[in-house]
Amino acid sequence: MIPLQPPRRLIDVEIDGETVRVPEGSTILDACAVAGKDIPTLCYGDTLTPKNACRVCVVEVEGARTLAPACSRKAEKGMKVGTDTERARQSRKVVLELLASSVDLSTTPRAAEWTKEYDADPARFGDDAATVEQPAKVDNELYVRDYSKCIMCYKCVDACGDQWQNTFAIGVAGRGFDTTISTEFDAPLTDSACVYCGNCVEVCPTGALSFKSEFDMRAEGTWDESKQTETTTICSYCGVGCNLTLHVQDNKIVKVTSPHDNPVTKGNLCVKGRFGYGYV
């Protein structure tokens, strides 16, 4: 119905010895999903251009000198991919150890599971390993920036910048281990260009960015995802018709997200849709 894209050819790719068929232009990660392989990802975002920052999704491609990031490397006809080879597992293990030794991954979904799965030992660098530990930045009532949990995946910068929001309130500052995500001159958000759309929080993979409601409830010890329901409905403000997923605990909205595959929002919202539910 949309006459702009030519039909895509299907190609055969071999994943761990199993042949799967995917449309040309798919990534190795897409092919792995078709093959039912569970590849860990952190910096990959389904609504963003791959940044290749975290390297936790690496796989072994036959004939290639280096490991390939599955999230960005395009699948090619006849490609033979090993997702669970010795080399790929070792690489993921070290990535997880380096990240977990320096960053607080306590709110990163599945981090604990992967640490176990790859037998990673973050403590092996010793007690004096450098960390990014720092106090959380709480400078407004809507969302919190806890950079002790930041793995520098750049997703928030891309979501705030030219890939979606085009507000450019945050960027990357500093060099090397001291690189941080920062507003201009590290000013508080209230003195920045931020428009509080929360689209950075939507893509954050570790909980470094979190809604104030969630941050406060975690501090009180009342945050309990097992008691939460998720219901997708439509925003009550303007007529654009954005889809909202309401996370409800004890008959109260505790968080609002947006489905990433929705044709209206593509996972994005504005300040009203994301935070304007206080009146119900």
Partner: protein, 633 residues
């Protein structure tokens, strides 16, 4: 100020509202309707249906009005914003919806944002615009203010308030004189071109420059870019529609699309952006005085017959009162009882003092809302409703005609009940034993009556993440754009040609003079919404309260500094507000929002001059003066 949710029914006793049981409140509500209709006939009743609520609620609301009461006096706040778009589009194409989809804005070559601060008022739509810009589309912003939208434009055309028709005419004339009009399309799919061509002939670039304030070269640039583009989208919002001649403004823009063939194709079309979550759906469901569900004309005897046999009651073969006429009929004593669902006209209507006076003349006023609004405080019976978008099931229809599922995530507070349940209970007390087992049953009744919704089962809506109308069949989907018929080779398939409109420039009614030298225009801010009842409920770091925004030049001339409290006076009212200096405004233009009516009642300044075709008021152009406050004594 933030509002508390209503948790109990209220009834008025000895002049004050007191808590009541549902039984008592429903009985009182029904009794008042019964008494008034018995005394004055069904046309003494008027319903304002809720553009915030679901399609299902709006369907039941208009059915209540037409079947239980027997009148067509049903309307919604649609009237205060986009009725002119519906009137203009349906006069030309026979259908009142925007013709394009959001995705098409990403795939187009030229985007014209006319009177639309979408960057702030429709941020997620604007993300689609930004995608288009990033892919190479040129964007033109036509707006008196240099808005957030204009900051992303290739060219900003800062026209004088209320000169949209001269600008559109000059663009049309330039296209015709440059030979860039689409002769084949005009010949095959339109009518009235010769008269139109003659009517725009006086609007040379230099005349238009004098009237609109837009440099001739910029008008020429817009005309050539729009006409030469393979695909072009023309989007507008309330800058076009909140004027006394709003339907003419809309027709002026539609003329441009007919002239260039930028309608009825993928990527080319007309997009009015709707301001409320379900204002499109409210109209589609027939909660307007001239249409039955499915936007079907009430004057068509065949259509009426179908509804009469389904509903078992004759339908009046004439249009009912629209909101503006309802308010007038209240003043005349013709409308004596009113059922307001989720509307706050006391604070949202232009010339708010007159509105209060009219509502106070009613014999019986029932308000169904989630808050005790200023309007609810005047009611005889207040019925606490659930918030449609998160406490009810149903559907909304968005600005691209996409019907999407609304799902219940929360239990309503206290004794608040679902809108449809409340209406059925009142209907039962008036002799109609209505019962619906949930919203889907209502929806299926609607699907049986409205061909453009027939193919939209709840299951399909969920599976496909919403479906755009028309959707007459459960087995297929229509293209995402409307009016492809205009491009058919076979004349019989092409259907009625789309008529050009011959229009006259009519400047804003509220004239500027020495006493009221400044032009006040109103609008929204990013983090706030309408009368602020909803958006006051969260702590936005961006919120700074009501201000009167002036350009630095005017502020200097009047000797005003930022933050200083000043008096703003129009021919109708006077308010005070602090000054905010905004270099995006031009000399002579001041801006206010209407988000904080409890602090500053901006709409006591605006004029109730209404568009005769659609009944929308001229919120966008009042004449005011701004004065320093003088200390008493």
């Amino acid at each position: 100020m933030s509002y508390d949710r209503l948790t109990h029914p209220l009834v008025r006793e000895n002049g004050v509202l007191r808590q009541a049981s549902w039984e008592e409140a429903l009985e009182r509500a029904a009794e008042g309707f019964r008494r008034n209709v018995a005394e004055h006939g069904p046309d003494c009743f008027a319903m304002l249906s809720c553009a915030r609520s679901t399609n299902e609620m709006n369907y039941v609301g208009q059915k209540f009005t037409r079947v239980v009461i027997g009148t067509n006096n049903v309307d919604s706040c649609n009237r205060t914003c986009h009725a002119p778009s519906v009137a203009g589009l349906s006069a030309v194409f026979g259908s009142g919806g925007g013709t394009s989809s959001y995705q098409e804005v990403e795939d187009t070559d030229v985007i014209v944002m006319w009177g639309s601060a979408a960057r702030n008022a429709h941020p997620i739509f604007f993300q689609h615009v930004l995608k288009g810009i990033r892919k190479g589309a040129r964007m033109f912003a036509v707006d008196p203010r240099r808005t957030g939208t204009a900051q992303w434009a290739d060219l900003w055309l800062g026209l004088n308030v209320g000169t949209d028709i001269p600008l559109a005419h000059a663009v049309a004339r330039e296209i015709i004189h440059a030979g860039l009009h689409n002769e084949a399309f005009i010949e095959r799919a339109t009518s009235g071109f010769e008269e139109f061509k003659e009517s725009v002939e006086p609007w040379t670039l230099s005349v238009a420059e004098q009237v609109t304030g837009v440099p001739a070269a910029a008008i020429r640039e817009l005309a050539h870019s729009y006409a030469r583009a393979d695909r072009a989208q023309l989007c507008w919002t309330l800058g076009i529609t909140e004027h006394h001649n709003a339907t003419d403004n809309v027709r002026a823009l539609i003329n441009l699309s007919l002239l260039t063939g930028h309608v009825g194709r993928y990527g080319s079309g007309l997009s009015p952006l709707r301001g409320q979550n379900n204002v499109q759906g409210g109209g589609d469901m027939g909660a307007i005085p001239n249409r039955l569900p499915g936007f079907q004309d009430i004057l068509d005897p065949g259509i009426r017959a179908r509804f009469e046999s389904a509903w078992g009651r004759p339908i009046q073969p004439r249009y009912g009162h629209n909101l503006t006429e309802m308010l007038e009929a209240m003043a005349e004593g013709e409308v004596t009882t009113c059922y307001l669902i989720g509307e706050n006209p006391v604070q949202s209507e232009a010339d708010s003092l007159a509105c209060i006076k009219r509502l106070s003349m009613l014999d019986h006023l029932v308000v169904q809302d989630i808050f005790l609004t200023k309007t609810a405080q005047m009611a005889d019976v207040v019925l606490p409703a659930s918030a449609a978008w998160c406490e009810a099931d149903g559907t909304f229809t968005n600005s691209e005609r996409r019907v999407q599922r609304v799902r219940k995530a929360l239990e309503p507070p206290g004794e608040a009940r679902d809108d449809i349940w409340i209406m059925c209970e009142i209907a039962r007390r008036l002799g109609h034993d209505w019962h619906y087992d949930g919203a889907e049953e209502v929806w299926n009744e609607l699907r049986a009556l409205s061909p453009q919704h027939t193919g939209m089962t709840y299951q399909r809506l969920a599976d496909l993440q919403g479906i755009q109308w028309p959707c007459p069949s459960e087995d297929s989907l229509e293209p995402p754009y409307l009016h492809g018929r205009l491009w058919e080779n076979d004349p019989s398939k092409r259907g009625t040609p789309a008529p050009f409109a011959v229009l006259r420039h009519s400047p804003p009614v509220d004239l500027l003079d020495d006493e009221y030298p400044l032009r006040l225009t109103t609008g929204r801010r990013l983090d706030s919404y309408n009368t602020g009842v909803q958006s006051s409920g969260f702590a936005s770091p961006l919120r700074r309260g009501e201000t009167v925004e002036l350009c630095p030049e005017d502020a200097e001339r009047l000797g005003l500094t930022e933050g200083e409290e000043v008096r703003i006076t129009s021919r109708r009212g006077s308010v005070t507000a602090p000054v905010y200096i905004d270099p995006a405004l031009r000399p002579g233009l001041v801006f206010m929002t209407f988000h904080f009516p409890d602090e500053v009642d901006t709409n006591s300044l605006t004029i109730e001059a209404t568009d005769p075709i659609s009944g929308t008021a001229e919120f966008k152009a009042a004449a005011v003066r701004v004065e320093k406050l003088v200390k008493a004594g």
